[in-house]
Amino acid sequence: MPAFPEAARAAIGDPTLRANLRHATHTIRDKRARAVAELDDWAELRQAGKEIKDRTLRHLDTYLLQLEEAVTAAGGTVHWATDAAEANRIVTELVRATGETEVVKVKSMATQEIGLNEHLEAEGIAAYETDLAELIVQLGEDRPSHILVPAIHRNRAEIRDIFREKMGSWGRPAPEGLSDTPAELAEAARLHLREKFLRAKVGISGANFMVAETGTLVVVESEGNGRMCLTLPETLISVVGVEKVVPGWRDLEVFLQTLPRSSTAERMNPYTSMWTGTRDDDGPSAFHLVLLDNGRTGALADEVGRQALRCIRCSACLNVCPVYERAGGHAYGSVYPGPIGAILTPQLRGTASEVDASLPYASSLCGACYEVCPVAIDIPEVLVHLRERVASEGGKGHRLERAAVKAASWVLDRPAALAAGQHLASATRALHPKRLPGPGARQWSEHRNLPELPAEPFRDWWKKNRT
């Protein structure tokens, strides 16, 4: 996986991708602003959301134990997984125990994070994504690039081509003469997936919230594919990060107001499913909850970084981020792109790899992400904190940066030296290279355009024209 700057450069050079991204992020961000403005108490809801999550995280052990007890009492089974490998093993064994070799899946960041589909495939179990965007990504042998709309980087013509070429090898082929109108494409997905829903014996999901007090799990969605996977199969397996728990039933009143408006800019998403264990007369007869750590407790131990665990995955921060808008989701090298990904991924995976060490720098620190966050995660604060961590771990680039700043301070403290330097720079303008030479400096200017120097220094221009 290349570091962020290399990955971003490819994206920035792709005009189709940039146009798709720009259209999408601007549309959602404008709609979101209107949806949020409808509620006069947004600031208070945001504050309450932050406080509920902080309280949960402070007593996470208590709430998880309470949740486990409630889920078990309601007929479910709770499993604990320290990491991705363990979670994948647990899910595989649970699917094997049913005797089935295929499962239908609700879009879930947690299962993407642990690479569940790939693991199941290697174990001979076919996992079908059923969210339309996830289907587009899966059929296109692609990777998701956005938390909420994973195929945001694809336009309708690309999607039609993927459906025409690939649907047939996964099941029901695309209808003859499929056009690229969204309605026809959605209908093709409906037909393709319905045969899978109707025969599915095992469903796999994540969850948006888990209520400790009652053992209730909550999934919010739009298409109904979630409802299909949660209610038609005989066995339901939910893989959920430990931070998704909230203490009480009442706490949902906050998040069910802030999540839809922040993510899809709707007053409420079309479908929300809530279930508590199993019932004889409705839905799956077996329910398994896999509680996933996979680096979360490491993030919890970081007093600045732990606020990232408040995240409810609304993706509002992606849609306002100038860096995400240009670089696209793939450049972040993780299932969590954008500003939240830039702070979550290095905490979950550590900063040993080049891509993870580069992520805290994938930001202009403009602060727009903090403004829109419905649980008030101070993303810029965590970015700076993680930069300190990366810098303290060494690397020659950072030493050179410090040296350059020291040299600049010396010049700026000496007006005569500065003036002389400026005259020299203006006079030799035509000779300036587009890239800086030398180790470190060359790397720096590989990813940044050097500013063009003016024909004369500003001070000279001012003297001539204004005095």
Partner: protein, 212 residues
Amino acid sequence: MTSDSRARVLARIRAAVADAPEAPDVTRAYLPRHTADNPGGLLDLLHENLADYRAHVHRTPPDGVADLVARLLDERGARSVVVPPGLPEEWLAAAGAERRGDEPRLTPHELDGIDAVVTGCALAIAETGTIVLDGGLGQGRRALTLVPDLHVCVVRAPEQVVASVPEALPRLDPTRPLTWISGPSATSDIELDRVEGVHGPRTLEVILVTGP
């Protein structure tokens, strides 16, 4: 071993927050509702918000429900309809469509062959344009309102209408399977163009029953 993992995760959590300051109690300074306490205004708001998310909304006094249900099924070409246990018989009294009960339980394939479902609801939320089903009498299990392509839902006003999400939750029982529905199934995954009807019912008809 998962029991070892349980102990390990819990130990990691305890170590992680051992030195963390106590988190304050949650201040709930937000509003319990955003609209005035006025049943007529609430019904209008529910109507408007449901329609805004492409549900078709109708109003009728109680004695008009049967004719309206029959007309809606007819207009949508529904020749068969699932009848959840406990649905008031008079609601389907005028309907010509073939009625299918859910006892014994219909298989997903059988459900897929049925055109429509008629249900009541647990409550409706005006500010968000949401109908909540809890599997109670006249609603059936969750699959019934999911697989058929047309859902006709009857809401009794004003007693089943609440203003807001904070007013809805205390009236719901979390141990029941709950489905919150705000408009028909929809997707915006293709260039953010909203398309109704992906996997759930493509058409949602809501009947607001007013009067005695």
